[in-house]
């Protein structure tokens, strides 16, 4: 190996910096170099990679094999020339980025054994079910593991790997599209535009069919003695998409917690868990193919259509009963909704007298389907009365009140009540709000309260000058100028120059300011990615500073006997290093949580 990782891996883009950092840390220098060159050149053959990186072809080949296995690289074979080209695949690196959190989440949501499987699969990229099972000697454990596999697979944490998973979507699409276009005949009566559109529509159907192929129950499962197990010949990988949905839920729950309250957020969490698995993908394959959906309006319509389809198919719809069943049993909702009685205690008795007891019984004990409709019709007094009388921790009425709060208790609509008692979550609209609130809070915590006020004022004004801002935010013009400068410097606010004389004299020109969301979010995302990489580099730097000590700890004879063989000062340094690494990883994870929101 001649050249190391070039400086370009850091400077070409923040994401390249992060990806190469992660690759270097988890997969080693060579993998990082290959990834860096693939990011900068886009698509290369093995020989070209070797030429650009000055690594021998053999080394590159062996690196590519593992990178493909780990979903870090796609390959595509040119039918005519027979050369194989490689491109970079984010999925693998993102798997590494999230690995700790993934395993932790599976551990808390399912258990240690599930987490073990996920961890092994993450390490290996993808694995044949039979290979994994056959490695286990104990017969009982074998059976148990098979069940765990079925569980993880049916909850979509694991998905089947097929050949098309190794090719970039753009190439698969292009092949299908060109094929269909060729088969669609030109005719004198139809225009070329119509022909292309027709082919596109057909190709879309064929593309989706390909992606959904091989997912029938027959392909996936074998039933032996009435016992359903995964088909042993199936090759499975971890489904990052599924985890990203979980991250989206987490972000939404945090938003609900900050806007409405902890208990409502807990109910929201339960609701999200119910439909998370079936919720729309973070990014639809169509949107990953460049040139397929270009118009932002078309893109919006497409995303909405996916969501509407999920609602129609009842995939992201839940009922109040389902929530009631799935709530954590220790969640205490009593007295969490204040009634008018809270303000006027003397009313309580009168109301209690007014309500006859059969009514109460019906509400708390019966299970009739028309119950929900009945709730809707109940007037305030009865609901209040019920809140006062419930003795269990979570009554239906309380849950309903919390769901109502989520749907109309703040400016953000976390839920939409479709019919009485059934709700859905408007993901697309919420993500917009989610980004906005996180962004503004980030401004508040980094640039201060005044900048936050000015920015939000500017958003309502759409466009404004210093004077109009100053009168609206009730701050001194000088302060406003400072804050605007800070915002401009952080690229959160744009300047528009308005000349007032024909010669555009600077002395007469005045300036308007405006905020553009998409630009700011993209910029912020890059800044976050860069900061994440800086932290990773910082960790390896301070570890490098204590290389001798750390090497010593790694020695066979020292391992496990650190207390005896190391000096007090060395132990102390070691402890400090550990604490420092942990605090930095904590910081990294915090930024990662924000970064994830802007990747939605």
């Amino acid at each position: 190996m001649q050249g190391g990782l070039s400086e370009a891996s850091k400077t070409q883009s923040p994401s390249s910096y992060l990806y190469t950092c992660i690759a270097q840390k988890n997969l080693g220098e060579i993998a990082a170099i290959v990834i860096s060159s693939l990011i900068s050149y886009g698509r290369l053959s093995c020989r070209e990679i070797s030429h650009k990186t000055k690594l021998s072809v053999k080394v590159v080949q062996s690196a590519l094999v593992s990178l493909i296995q780990l979903q870090c690289v796609y390959y595509v074979k040119d039918e005519n020339s027979g050369t194989v080209h490689y491109t970079f695949n984010e999925t693998g690196v993102l798997n590494f980025l999230h690995s700790g959190e993934i395993i932790n989440h599976i551990k808390t949501a399912y258990g240690d054994d599930h987490a073990e499987i996920i961890q092994n699969i993450l390490v290996n990229g993808h694995i044949k079910v039979a290979d994994y099972i056959n490695n286990i000697d104990d017969a009982q454990k074998k059976l148990d593991t098979e069940t765990l596999f079925v569980k993880l697979f049916s909850d979509k944490w694991l998905v089947r790997v097929q050949l098309f998973d190794f090719h970039p979507y753009a190439d698969i699409w292009n092949n299908i599209y060109q094929d269909i276009l060729k088969k669609t005949p030109r005719s004198a009566t139809t225009s070329e535009i119509k022909r292309v559109n027709e082919a596109k529509e057909k190709a879309k159907i064929a593309f989706v069919q390909l992606l959904e192929s091989g997912q029938t129950s027959k392909d996936l499962y074998t039933v032996k003695d009435g016992f359903k197990t995964l088909n042993p010949n199936l090759i499975v990988r971890f489904n990052l998409n599924r985890f990203q949905k979980h991250l989206r839920s987490v972000a939404l729950i945090n938003l609900a917690k900050s806007r409405i309250g902890t208990l409502s957020a807990k109910i929201y969490e339960t609701a999200l868990n119910l439909i998370e698995q079936e919720s729309p993908d973070i990014i639809h394959p169509f949107l990953q193919i460049s040139g397929l959906i270009n118009d932002p309006e078309e893109e919006r319509a497409f995303i909405n259509s996916i969501e509407n389809k999920s609602v129609e198919e009842k995939k992201i719809v839940f009922t109040i009963r389902e929530i009631e069943r799935s709530l954590p049993t220790d969640l205490d909702l009593r007295n969490s909704i204040l009634t008018h009685n809270f303000l006027k205690p003397n009313l309580k008795k009168r109301v209690a007298d007014e309500v006859d007891s059969p009514n109460k019984r019906v509400k708390t004990e019966s299970d009739t389907p028309d119950l929900l409709a009945e709730f809707q019709l109940k007037n305030d007094i009865i609901i209040e009365e019920e809140i006062d009388t419930d003795s269990d921790l979570q009554s239906t009425s309380l849950i309903q009140h919390h769901l109502k709060l989520l749907s109309s208790g703040s400016t953000i609509q976390f839920l939409i009540e479709m019919t009485p008692g059934t709700y859905t979550i408007p993901f697309t609209a919420l993500i917009k709000q989610l980004k906005q609130y996180n962004f503004e809070t980030l401004v508040k915590t980094t640039l201060g309260g005044n900048a936050f006020r000015v920015l939000r004022c500017l958003k309502t004004q759409k466009i404004g000058d210093e004077k109009s801002l100053a009168t609206a935010v009730l701050l001194k013009e000088k302060t406003v100028r400072n804050e605007v400068y800070k915002l401009v410097k952080a690229n959160l606010v744009e300047i528009q120059e308005v000349p007032r004389s024909a010669d555009r004299a600077a002395s007469k020109t005045f300036y308007l300011f405006r905020h553009k969301e998409i630009m700011s979010y993209n910029f912020l995302r890059n800044a976050l990615i860069f900061t994440m990489s800086e932290i990773l580099v910082n960790i390896s730097n301070f570890k490098e500073d204590h290389k001798i000590l750390l090497d010593k700890c790694e020695r066979e004879d020292v391992k496990g006997h650190e207390e005896e063989l190391l000096l007090d000062s060395e132990l102390k340094t070691l402890k400090n290093l550990q604490a420092r690494e942990i605090s930095n990883i904590g910081r990294f994870n915090r930024i990662k949580a924000l970064f994830e929101i802007y990747s939605l």
Partner: protein, 321 residues
């Protein structure tokens, strides 16, 4: 002459009986004294004008008469001609005030003369100099007994033509606190039996939130400020609170506000169940359930700054490099 002077006085008195500032035309004056010939009125009017008891004002193409009180007339008669001219301009600009440069331009007097006259008028307390918020460097004069208009003073937010941020901030705090207590009544008190310490919200159909009128009433009845505030001032304060994300407008209303839960949390309220002495208010299992499991930027108030300064990372490190 004496007789006519008497009649002139009658005319003057009758003119003064109307609300001050009333403009009379010729016919109206004739009606007041039941004079039929304009010539008769002419001599009376001329006499009053000479004694500065009546002012002539041109309105459109018509000439109008305005009565001047005797005290005012005395004032003017004591002035020199230049002073009287300047005085009349200052008077005409009313509560807006007039800039010295404008006086000079209008009167065509020399700078020295203007300055001398202004000084003398100011010494006699006929006029005063004021500061304008819009043009802080200009010297602006108005009549001594007038209050500067809102445009000049900048409204209640200005004290000595400086934005009084301290006053604004304290009002903002008061309004927010009032709104918050009407939105989350239990957040500001020690945990009680009849409310859930973790979250006690009003149902979504609750209507008792604050609006501009109740805020106004709260401020006046508690005598929070001695400065007169109008509804629009309260509205601009509420707008600022909305920009600060401390209040939010309730859907489908124009002036009803609810405090945001985030603002309550940031102010350090609504979290009393997390404190050591309130450990018993909720049981451990429940506490376990509501324990936050992930990082949320909205809980930034909980994050302590790191001790290790070398490891601090900055959001702008990418574009500041």
């Amino acid at each position: 002459m004496a007789e006519s002077s008497e009649r002139a006085q009658v005319l003057h008195n009758k003119m003064l009986e109307s609300p001050s500032g009333t403009l009379f035309n010729q016919q109206e004056l004739q009606d007041l004294l039941h004079i039929s010939k304009p010539v008769e009125l002419l001599s009376l009017a001329q006499e009053l004008i000479n004694r500065k008891l009546v002012k002539l004002i041109k309105q459109g193409d018509e000439l109008r008469f305005q009565a001047v009180s005797i005290i005012e007339a005395n004032k003017i008669t004591q002035m020199t001609d230049d002073e009287a001219m300047i005085y009349s301009y200052i008077e005409a600009w009313g509560r807006e005030g007039i800039w010295t440069k404008t006086i000079k331009a209008k009167t065509n007097l020399h700078q020295h003369v203007v300055v001398r006259c202004l000084k003398s008028l100011e010494n006699q307390r006929y006029i005063k100099s004021i500061k304008s918020v819009k043009h802080p460097t200009r010297k602006i004069y108005m009549l001594y007994n007038l209050q500067p208009s809102i445009e000049v003073t900048g409204g209640p937010w200005f004290t000595d033509s400086e934005l009084d941020t301290e006053f604004i901030d304290s009002l903002l705090t008061v309004i927010w606190r009032f709104a918050a207590s009407k939105t989350y009544p239990t957040a500001f008190q020690a945990p009680t039996e009849d409310s859930n310490p973790v979250q006690s919200s009003y149902p979504s159909n609750h209507t008792g939130f604050v609006n501009l009128d109740t805020i106004m009433e709260f401020i006046t009845s508690n005598k929070i400020t001695n400065i007169d505030l109008v509804l629009n001032d309260i509205r601009s304060l509420c707008d600022v609170l909305v920009f600060d994300d401390k209040l939010e407008l309730i859907n489908q209303t124009t002036d009803t506000y609810r405090a945001t839960w985030q603002s309550v949390l940031e102010a350090g309220y609504g979290r009393s169940y997390e404190e050591e002495e309130n450990k018993i208010v909720i049981n451990d299992k429940f506490r376990q359930v509501i324990q936050p499991k992930s990082f949320s930027i909205f809980e930034h108030y909980k994050v302590l700054p790191d001790a290790e300064e070398a490891d601090t990372t900055y959001l702008d490190s990418w574009f500041q490099q």
